[in-house]
Amino acid sequence: MKLLELTAVELGKKIKAGEVTVEEATRAALDAIKAKEEKVHSFVTIDEEGAMNRAKEVQKLIDDGTLTGPLAGVPVAIKDNLCTKGMLTTCSSKILYNFIPTYTAEAVLNLEKAGAVILGKTNMDEFAMGSTTETSAYGVTKNPWNTEHVPGGSSGGSCAAVAAEECFYALGSDTGGSIRQPSSFCGVTGIKPTYGTVSRYGLIAYGSSLDQIGPVAKDVTDCATILEAITSYDKKDSTSVKREDTDFTSALVDDVKGMKIGIPRDYLGEGLDPEVKTAILAAAKTLEEKGAIVEEFDLSLVEYAIPAYYVIAAAEASSNLARFDGVKYGYRTKEYEGLHNMYKKSRSEGFGPEVKRRIMLGSFVLSSGYYDAYYLKALRTKALIKQAFDKAFEKYDVILGPAAPTTAPKLGESLSDPLKMYLGDVYTVSVNLAGLPGISLPCGLDSKGLPIGLQLIGDCFKEKNIIRAAYAYEQTRTYQHSPIAQD
């Protein structure tokens, strides 16, 4: 048996039963990383020594009965925009090339409490700005299904690491699809929870009103289990929501009888790859056969989500990224004349082109004379989009559609035309604008052998609906390991 084929929950059970030690599992993951990194490059930082020490410590805590949860002892990879005390956290940017936080993100602390062993930090698009993980300052991550293709982004490193079986699960973040789209491209499962469910404290902000942390894993059971572990009300995050129904694993039930599922007709039109469309509709059929009531409907406003999203995300980013200035941490240019020159040179040398592009756009749309026309207009559009979803959820429990219009493009294809790359987020961004939960899970391969992702969207605070639908669908399939995983 290859240990890394196990899901996180399966491994957790074996560790609990004493069949596998935490050190064995950690060693196995570190060996897998060693063997596969050259091909996939999922990681920015690998903490071999820290992980092995932690493994010993966790084993003791399991042995003495302190740690009893399902994730105790299971090794995890963390997206590099989540602060980890004492461990390099770069956001895949040169501007944070040497940043070692003195605090740990609340979501990661929650995992540590559950007995997680952190293997290292995963690669991402710089500051989570991108859909391919090609904008990283530390090299490109490749798709474990075909290394000539991108893994998606921005949580491409996390999704590739799970798909390549370099770790048992990972944390990602999702501002406009950054968990769901790469999960779709890499053939793994990822959840973007309702805004406010997982604390953002320690998550290096991109678009504060849109960012959420979520799990990436091999299956729905893992994702529900991980989400349950990282969810918490955090008084350090003012946008954190006090929730009671966070026993997400209770929704792991193979029953969708009577569940109302709507497919937005607007999601099936122009731009959608026919193979993706076929797979999505087949998945809908499967759910229907299991007793769900499935119908198509008009969601409306779909084409306005991307422009509204890019205005809001870029505006917030331009402000959030102002703190990277070479004064308190990170990169400072070597030679400069005076304060403003130091700012400009440090930032211009420290940020990559995509980040600079979005900061420029964000600064522009907020600047005097444009605020109303762009920023307020986008916030008004957001309100309309929210209303459209509210209306849809009066009728449906779950909205079903693709996570992305295509399967993973080839490396280098997307960056040349940013607008086209942005359009790839058409099915994911509106979920962030409306604060909704969404899950992406594998629903087949295209003719090139690349994974296709099925997206299920729920109403706010209704993760359980999408988890139940996803779980029921998943029962009709077997997990397909990527070629790199099988190496």
Partner: protein, 98 residues
């Protein structure tokens, strides 16, 4: 192309954002920004005159802290990543206005 961004505007936004783009970068960024803005102009098709701008999706309100000191000496952690420090302070180029 409906939106034309002048070099002057690019320079101005560069001052706001504290970014100094190379000529090549500037031209590329200008082109991208113009096409993004054209695309964003699509929002004008929507009549939003009766819609309130929505910044928070949920009506969460009144999240407060009590006025109690909980943090101690943060000095070491605060300065741990400083590119340049002296006498427990961050060092920056002189800021006195000329």
């Amino acid at each position: 192309m409906a939106n034309v961004i002048s070099d002057e505007t690019m320079g101005y936004v560069g001052i706001l954002a504290k970014l100094e783009l190379s000529e090549e970068e500037k031209q590329a960024a200008k082109k991208d920004m113009e096409s993004m803005l054209d695309y964003i102009d699509k929002l004008n098709e929507l009549d939003t005159s009766k819609v309130e701008p929505m910044s928070h999706v949920f009506p969460v309100k009144n999240v407060f802290r009590e006025d109690v000191v909980e943090n101690g000496d943060g000095g070491e952690a605060t300065l741990a990543n400083a590119p340049e420090k002296r006498d427990r302070a961050f060092v920056v180029p002189k800021t006195v206005d000329q």
